[in-house]
């Protein structure tokens, strides 16, 4: 029996030897980084098949600092974390938010982005240029600040559209449900449609989402109002994902991220791709 098992293992191994995928060294000369390549502007694929976007350009800079070779491969988002754990890739780079649930399975680097959220209204609406427009405020927990009080007063009796089941949903409900009507939508483009049609007065969503939504001709009359809201209220932000045992690799990335933050490289890339600063 043992001999037969060995023979079949040998057979499979010979069959696979030619086709087997990467086998990496553990001294981290090269790392395989997986990204979706279909989440513009974080990461995207160009028509010629090359990968571009905010994250791939940042990675190129970070890998230069670490003096390692980074091989970027694209795969489906749903299988990225299982594949990382199975050992197929070494790093996940896919606008991955740090959450407690994910922390049970994988380790995270320091966040390299924390996207703010913001209100949007029609340019011609009296709600345009509400208190704090053009500024950024940091909220840590419940959102009780003077600016928020001013917004609550300004939005009294209005209708606010939000996407359902995101981190922003409970925030808007808790802060505005007693002064305004709140309408939930399944996807973000739906609240844009209703805002443009005049069914709602305001929409609240991720600022990076609005950056690309504003680029569509049908949304030309949409404008930010009130401050960009940032801080721990949305969680720590987006980071690289690693296997828990690869603490040395995580530390290398953290050092490179700190350097790139300090010399302004990250902010420059953020302005290029998001048209705003998402660096935490």
């Amino acid at each position: 029996m043992i001999a037969r098992h060995f023979a079949s293992a040998l057979l499979s191994a010979t069959l696979l030897a030619g086709a087997a995928a990467s086998v990496e060294a553990k001294d981290w000369k090269t790392v395989t980084v997986v990204t979706e390549g279909a989440y513009e502007p974080w990461n995207l694929t160009n028509p010629d098949g090359t990968v571009g976007g905010f994250e791939p350009e940042m990675l190129k800079d970070l890998c230069g600092r670490m003096k390692i070779e980074c091989k970027v491969v694209t795969s489906d988002f749903d299988s990225a974390i299982p594949s990382l754990v199975a050992g197929k890739y070494d790093v996940v780079m896919d606008a991955l938010s740090i959450t407690d649930d994910r922390k049970k399975t994988i380790a995270f680097s320091d966040p390299y982005a924390a996207t703010p959220a913001v209100f949007v209204t029609d340019k011609t609406s009296p709600l345009a240029n509400a208190a704090g427009t053009g500024t950024t405020i940091k909220l840590e927990n419940d959102g009780a600040t003077p600016t928020m009080d001013a917004l609550r007063k300004a939005f009294k009796g209005k209708t606010i559209g939000i996407q359902t089941a995101t981190v922003y949903t409970p925030f808007v409900i808790n802060n505005f449900k007693d002064v305004a009507t709140i309408r939930e939508y399944k996807t973000s483009p739906e609240h844009d449609l209703d805002l443009v049609a005049g069914r709602i007065d305001l929409a609240f969503d991720d600022a990076t989402y609005f950056t690309s939504a504003f680029a569509k001709p049908e949304n030309k009359d949409m404008a930010y109002t009130g401050p960009q809201i940032n801080g721990m209220i949305w969680g720590p932000g987006e980071a690289f994902g690693f296997r828990k045992e690869d603490t040395d690799l995580t530390a290398m990335f953290n050092k490179a991220i700190t350097e790139a933050k300090a010399d302004g490289t990250l902010e420059k890339l953020s302005q290029k791709w998001f048209k705003l600063n998402v660096v935490p």
């Binding site: 499979s12 995928a21 990496e24 390549g37 028509p47 489906d76 199975a86």
Partner: protein, 238 residues
Amino acid sequence: MSWYELFGFGEKGWGGLLVVGLLLTIAVTLTALLIGAVFGSLAAWGKLSASMPARIAGDVYTTVFRGVPELLVIFLIYFGGSSLTTAIGHLFGRDGFVGLPNFLAGALAVGVISGAYQAEVFRAAFVAVSRGELEAARAVGMPRLMRFRRIIVPQVLRFAIPGLGNVWQLSLKDSALISITGLVELMRSAQIGAGSTRQYFGFYIAAGALYLLLTSVSNRVFETAEARTARSFRRRLA
């Protein structure tokens, strides 16, 4: 950017990527159908066998792989398969991860599923072969293998054509699920194009049209094959 530019073959056009995806979809489905033919004929043989264990094995195979979601089988083979190959790699002193290439894992997954359906098609086709011809072959003293080669295989294949056409179409659509392994077939190339340009509707419509093109062309191929083989039968196939 106009639709013509977006889906064209110019510098900014996605036509090339979609066509490569289409070819890969055809390649992976053909490979899966061949893998399935091997599994399917073995299972059909088991189901028709006089031996009880062979019958049970054949029945278990067709019941399990027709009854479990395709996506689950793909996950099992893609992730489970690489855990297995990594373990075998360790046995031979290879450190780290040894993976099944995603083309092979995907074709294998769709193949074992299509094998379960093909087994039923082959079994039904075998039952349709006239008992009289088999008895006549035995009466003139044809040995077992010659009977298989001259009487059974040619007729089973003819009777199986309509059923195989269905299985082909089924596998063609199952192949879209392989996109989760990162293999850039038609579905995944549409997802990449959609996510990179935010033209979700356009890209999914384009992929849908290409799938329809593929299934309608292959329908014609199977119909022609069916008409050709029907000529040698006394009456038309159902």
